[in-house]
């Protein structure tokens, strides 16, 4: 029942998104613009500075993620549908999981474009260890989206929610960004230090577990008036 509810919420979000494709297109466009700005900042005389590509990729993902989170819940607020969701006789945490799955799919779709683009534009060897890269991206995105979904949902009713989402989200998700950037930067080295990458990956997994648990635990009291 729990997972059926979650899947239904996710399917609803995806159906809305597939019909308009608004969030995917705007988010992607924004992320690509970010990358363009960084290209001017970190490329000197045709050479990319250090392992800037890793940082650029993760900043683009987190900026795009914030935008997507804000828009997803703005849609719910606009149509007053979040109230309807909350009134449904199902577990609140199932609604959270459904929203999270929808945002995750959206972000993974954006990453499908962003990662090859960064690899191409900054001639970064991102695909030297594809399994580790996918692991880092998946775990990092999950951690970011887990906290983000909770905060975006809480902020639906708050004033100045557009400003507050980054204010809340960035300090809390710094460990994800640190682990993601450091892990990805290691992949860019000519000799990949696999043990260190796995260490960052396990840190990301630990973060995911703790923050998913906390989110599931606090979603119910937070969304109750």
């Amino acid at each position: 029942m729990f997972f059926r509810t979650a899947l239904l919420v996710m399917r609803k979000d995806l159906t809305v998104e597939v019909r308009s494709r608004e969030i995917l297109y705007t988010t992607l466009f924004f992320a690509v613009s970010c990358i363009l700005v960084f290209a001017f900042a970190f490329v000197k005389e045709g050479e990319v500075l250090g392992d800037a590509a890793a940082g650029i990729l993760w900043i683009a993902i987190s900026f795009a993620g914030t935008l997507a989170l804000g828009r997803t819940f703005e849609r719910e607020r606009h149509a007053e549908t979040l109230r309807a969701l909350m009134l449904a006789p199902v577990e609140r945490s199932a609604i959270y999981v459904g929203k999270l799955l929808g945002i995750l799919l959206l972000l993974f779709a954006a990453e499908l474009v962003l990662v090859p683009l960064v690899a191409l534009l900054f001639s970064a060897a991102l695909f030297s260890r594809p399994v580790l890269l996918v692991g880092l991206l998946a775990a990092g995105t999950l951690g970011f989206a887990a906290v983000g979904t909770l905060f975006a949902a809480m902020l639906v009713r708050a004033r100045s929610r557009d400003v507050l989402l980054p204010v809340l989200l960035y300090p809390i998700t710094i460990p994800v960004i640190i682990a993601g950037v450091r892990g990805t930067a290691l992949l860019l080295q000519p000799n990949v230090d696999q043990a260190m990458v796995v260490m960052w990956l396990s840190l990301l997994f630990a973060f995911d577990v703790v923050f998913l648990t906390l989110s599931l635990w606090t979603f119910e009291p937070l969304m109750t008036d």
Binding site: L155, R157, A158, L164, V167, P171, I172, R182, F211, T218
Partner: protein, 219 residues
Amino acid sequence: MRRLFGPLLILSVILFAAAPVLIAQAPYEQTMGLIQKIFYFHVPAAMMMMLSSFICGIWSAIFLLRKKPEADRIAVAGGEMVVVFGLIVLVTGPLWARIAWGVWWVWDVRLTSALLLWMIFCGYLLVRKYGGPGADKLGAAMAIFGMANVPFVYISVDIWRTMHPKTTVVTTLGEGMAIPFWFCVFAFLVMYALLFTARVHLEEQRARVEQLFLEAGDL
């Protein structure tokens, strides 16, 4: 709580008047000299910052799960104290680092985690101030997540080399330094208690005024 205010105030004034004398009499550290004396205020302030972040986080959780408004008042006081004592830490730290390391700031384990902890609680205060209705709950969630975040930041930056003196330095202090140090810790603790009780009392009064205001509106 209100009765405690007077004695705490007097005690804290006496302690902070005596602290500079004790610090001045403490022996000079061999390599760093005079600048090392900043440590007598820097470390106790950092201790109060950590203590306060846990007070804020734990009482936020109590507020969120038990829905007790009293817990929220304690959490607000704790959150504000993190920012105040954090500011002391973040000002005294770079002053020391400029002499000892030659730079104001390095991206080191303790510096990054302290800055981030401070930023999380600045965010907490921002949310409480500008969040509008329901800001207390938003803030509570921020504080819980912030508290859970501390170990992660610590681990993730620990993998980089650290320059900051280890915490074990406190237990290996010579007698000449240990006495003024623990005296300062005690002075900070008393000041913390003073500010904390005053802040919680203020928050209680504010809640009472709000209650009276609502009652007057009903008449």
